[in-house]
Symmetry: C2
Subunit: 220 residues, 2 copies
């Protein structure tokens, strides 16, 4: 039993990696940059993306895929608060999106009028890290209320993320969060990870992140 389960998972991941490479090549040929955003539930993905998109929407044509098990709130909010095209993708209970699911969603969505695709992945620090979505870059968010020890507990998420954004930094005075330890733990998992500290609600640090993403999007 155990062996067959492991084997099935290996097959699924290998198939997914192949599909992800194909999707990446397809988007590259269309000069579309694909940013995959991952985090725990409630870490502030939608609020931060709203800020970033409003900063960059006049420079790039941006489309947003909002992935959730259920509910429509994120797509409605992004659309209402930025004016860019957004759709909700439901995962039928699954804890992550596969490259095939992303490709199908993008086909339904239509990407030919876009420069940048942003995927807000399912709120989860485990499964989305295992499945390459076909993105050009992975950005993960860790909110101050969650605690600075998360890179110790969820190694793969921090390992596969090129950008780690510490969010809700305005709440640091009321939480026991050690920024130095957090950065040390993040770099223990990925020594090249670029770390940003933001409060999307108070608009602190968002300009630095925007500038960095702007450079990435321009390279598409």
């Amino acid at each position: 039993m155990d062996y067959s389960v492991v084997k099935v998972k290996e097959d699924i991941l290998a198939e997914n990696n192949k599909r992800a490479d194909e999707l990446r090549a397809k988007l590259k040929s269309k000069h579309i940059y694909f940013l995959n955003v991952m985090a725990s539930p409630g870490s502030g993905k939608t609020t931060l993306l709203t800020r970033v998109i409003n900063n960059l929407k006049n420079k790039y044509r941006i489309g947003v895929l909002e992935a959730d098990i259920d509910g429509e709130v994120d797509a409605i909010n992004i659309s209402k608060n930025t004016g860019v095209k957004a759709i909700q993708v439901h995962t039928s209970g699954a804890c992550h999106l596969t490259a095939q699911m992303v490709d199908d969603a993008l086909t339904a969505f239509g990407v030919d009028d876009l420069d940048v695709v942003i995927l807000e992945n399912v709120g989860n620090l485990v499964c989305p890290a295992e499945f390459d979505t076909g993105s050009n870059i992975n950005m993960m968010l860790l909110s101050v209320p969650e605690g600075h020890d998360k890179p110790l507990k969820y190694p793969l998420m921090f390992q596969v993320s090129n950008i780690a954004v510490i969010t809700k930094i305005d709440t640091a005075p009321i939480f026991d969060f050690d920024f130095d330890k957090c950065e040390k733990y993040i770099h223990m998992r990925n020594k090249d990870a670029k770390v940003f500290k933001v409060s999307a609600v108070k608009n602190i640090g968002v300009d630095e992140l925007t500038y960095y993403l702007d450079q990435l999007f321009a390279s598409r």
Copy 2:
């Protein structure tokens, strides 16, 4: 491909349910109550459990299983701050514990000198909800910083949880959290869910939860 993946998952869940029932029967025969605690990463599971265990440790012999992908911090903290027996269970990358993994861990741990087993499951609002651990009751935590919309996005977690604890309520003044909406959404998923509101750090509401758990543990 899709069909075989679905079939494998169905087989895994059916096998897990069977193992969970066997574990439940085994623990019942030993008069041991098994509480499974689930939540997002960083929602305050360990801090709340520390309070509850300190309130009840003189009445019941309690043992704690701390499940994580990696790291030892939770078992060390629980053990240091309560004095009860605790072990760390690593899931080899998996996003949840199966009943078999719990049974193996309990066998290694030794339960014959215990009245209550508490499992702090992997921080994740998706996968742990799918896998019956063999517990007598499921308690899930939702922290105020995560937002009141989570029952809309993670239906199964709220559906399978008999107890929903809203944590970090002392931080409500700085977050946009609507308690009435949250309770409404929780009861939309499970109309019988018992809802508690606590701040483990400030020791608010913990006595009510302790009293409720005490009654459950006494029924073992």
